[in-house]
Symmetry: C2
Subunit: 460 residues, 2 copies
């Protein structure tokens, strides 16, 4: 980069209001990290744009000086996406957090990237609508689109890529494009929307996102089912899917996780492998599903099955689930947490979780397993001392073994967290044959390699 | 091309069994056209490969001599995709039509591209599974993946892009890649699967396709609802969606279409704008949906609503719907048919169909409107004399006006048929800002422009 810190600041202040360009130390530190275990790196400057035009001006400038730019939402990434490992400009989207348009009859909403999913759901409620994708954290829609996030409801409603109808993207050279449209489907040319979703800020910067939203179901019932073993719990979940029960959520929470949940959320759930369930539909349909679920789970050695129709108790249950990652962080203040994220064909899931338990136990680390078992996606939370090289290695080894197990069975190294920094070595194993195509696309879309450099693709 | 016909034949016969390489006139003619109104062009040779290795050898050869290759399924394209407008090699996939693997517990199937959707459903039935995407024609899975097909059930189950988990693709240079995996979701790198689906043979040739399949629902009920006007029918359909009824099919068939249906399928449906409906789910849920549907359609001036639970009557109804295109072709033996294919936000649909009726009437052509109204996608069938330049122009004008109407309202020029030859000029209007990116991808993936040249993208 042929520009000093002072010049950089000066130039950016010509482009946007100088109060929204900063090298304040605390702010730089906040933008040096995310919720992952990866090492923080400071950006040189943080900017807070208010419009697409400002983002475009920033990129045009950055591109001409070959300065890295890294988009930043709320920093809830678990794979280091928001860490500016090559320095440069961190673009914080917190001022671009508006709901721009709701089209209830079309089940569409157009938002800015800095809006969080909870804020979106608050805005949708009065229309009887909701946005289902739920990764746990209250992430921004921009971040969720960038990583192709999913979560507890994806078994029913799908992943981010299924919801995004249109993206306004600022390209590396500052040009602004729209990738899609407002219709429910299209066969009009190459589907660039799907290419940008999950590209983790490496192909362009999102400034507007049009999403599909859903009517709030007539009936929602949540439930908790406890089992004697994780294997029984997973097999129970798979039996619901095989029977065609249209379940909206089916989450495995193992004994270690239930312990942390109880401590952190002041619940008294039995310390057993548990499925957290949710059913959405019309009243009669949900009632029939629940009856059938009881039969199927009984046949899979379910110890206890409790339903919550009351919306407060239901919220409590999902809040407990959502706070799980924070429960671990608070429960082990001296440790860092590494979260694994494989996804396998459902038929291989229960054995994969049993294998993971074994690998964790062998490592001597404390860890738990939990996951979106309806999708075949599960996580382990591994607690380790980041200053103890031996523990770091142990955590890395557990992660590697779980990933290798999944890849050998047709699975993926990341179901929903993305590649970021931590999974590049596994992307090379999973998609060795297509990395050259990905690299071609990256080189064409971002010839100066300014867009979140060092993420997703291996550096040549 | 620096190779004669005879040399071409000779070289190809070195690569695959000579009985499967032909310049037989009848076979060349069969591969010169599809079901669209576009002008046939003969390929120079037709090959019938039996394996991925053979396809790879053919492409490697074609690439080194810069010979165009055009994949061919059953030729049911409606936009000229299979027409080899630059000559070259037509690759017919009829011998690559196997179901390679069914994984019932994972709801996955792996097939060859020449398999048709009806053949696939026959193979799935014994597992209690089905593949929902239904474009009307009994197209091949390869063709449906290439055009990102959809159809009557997409309102519930989604489009081809939502079903394809993995593609085996032979690239222009003969290299063979896999784009995805077996897990239900992944955030592992750029989503090339979605880029190849809908790329219409211009980025690579598919040799294996892994698809998501579904359990056959406990209860299926079909129905017919007649209305006094198309507007009432569409508004009725929209009211079902807004009420959150989880409908599996909702098809508009206008009066002109019902007339052709009755003639061709020997039915005696009332000559009224009609919705063909289908409900999938558990018994209690479907019953509640049906009760609610009656109320909602009554409120939208529905004249008559008849349900068919009997599977034969249900099949008859959908067969009649599927044969509609053929009904028109047989009903007007001296005419060609042009089919329009716009998709709009649902809130704009009823006005769009009313507008289309007006435009057709003003043109003096015979034409009908029908469509997958749950997605906002509708077609008009325009009958014209291809030897009468005035009628050709009239049909083109109607098409243009309908497309422009849709684009002005955030819609797309093609909901499901693809760009092919006929929609390139409209792609330029719809995605002027992203065509340069599409072109970059095409140039990188197919530098010698041998893959279905002249389709999708405008030629520079």
């Amino acid at each position: 980069m042929s520009i000093t810190h002072d010049e950089l600041l000066l130039e950016l202040k010509k482009l946007i209001d100088e109060k929204r360009v900063t090298r304040n130390k605390t702010i730089l530190e906040h933008h040096s990290q995310d919720e992952s275990h990866h090492t923080p790196v400071l950006p040189e400057v943080v900017v807070f744009p208010e419009s697409t035009e400002e983002v475009s001006a920033i990129l045009q400038f950055a591109n001409s000086y070959r300065i890295p730019v890294v988009p930043f939402g709320v920093g809830s990434s678990l794979e280091g996406h928001a860490i500016p490992i090559k320095g440069g400009i961190s673009i914080d989207f917190q001022l671009m957090n508006k709901v721009l348009e709701v089209r209830p009859e079309d089940f569409l909403v157009r938002v800015q990237p800095g809006l969080t999913r909870t804020e979106l759901n608050q805005a949708l409620k009065k229309y009887g609508l909701f946005f289902p994708v739920d990764p746990g954290a209250d992430a921004t829609i921009g971040g969720m689109s960038s990583t192709n996030a999913s979560g507890t409801t994806s078994v029913r409603y799908g992943i981010m890529r299924n919801q995004v109808r249109d993206l306004e993207v600022v390209l590396a050279d500052g040009n602004v494009i729209h990738t899609g449209g407002l219709s429910a489907k299209s066969s009009s040319g190459y589907h660039l929307t799907s290419l940008f979703v999950g590209s983790e800020g490496t192909l362009g910067v999102f400034t507007e996102i049009t999403l599909k939203v859903y009517g709030i179901p007539e009936m929602i019932v949540a439930g908790r089912a406890t089992f004697l073993s994780v294997k029984d719990a997973v097999n129970g979940a798979v039996s619901l899917l095989s029977a065609g029960i249209s379940i909206a959520r089916v989450e495995l929470v193992d004994e270690e996780s239930i312990e942390q949940v109880n401590k952190h959320s002041e619940t008294d759930y039995p310390i057993r492998p548990t499925l957290f369930l949710e059913f959405h539909g019309n009243e009669q349909g949900v009632k029939q599903d629940i009856g059938f679920t009881k039969e199927l789970l009984d046949a899979n050695s379910c110890e206890e099955l409790i339903f919550e129709t009351d919306s407060l108790k239901r919220s409590k249950l999902w809040e407990a689930r959502h706070n799980l990652a924070y429960a671990f962080i608070h429960g082990f203040p001296d440790k860092k947490m590494m979260i694994t994220d494989v996804c396998l064909p459902v038929s291989k899931l229960s054995e994969a979780i049993v294998y993971s338990r074994k690998v964790i136990d062998e490592s001597g680390l404390y860890g738990s397993a939990l996951g979106h078992v309806g999708d075949g996606n599960f996580h382990t939370n591994l607690m380790y001392d980041k200053n103890d090289p031996e523990e770091v290695e142990k955590a890395n080894n557990v992660n590697r073994k779980i990933v290798e197990y999944a890849l050998e069975r047709g699975g993926t190294c990341t179901g929903e967290h993305g590649i970021g920094l931590g999974k590049i070595k596994y992307l090379k194993k999973e998609h060795a044959d297509t990395i050259p195509l990905m690299q071609m696309i990256k080189n064409q879309f971002d010839p100066n390699n300014i867009l979140n450099p060092g993420k997703v693709l291996p550096e040549s």
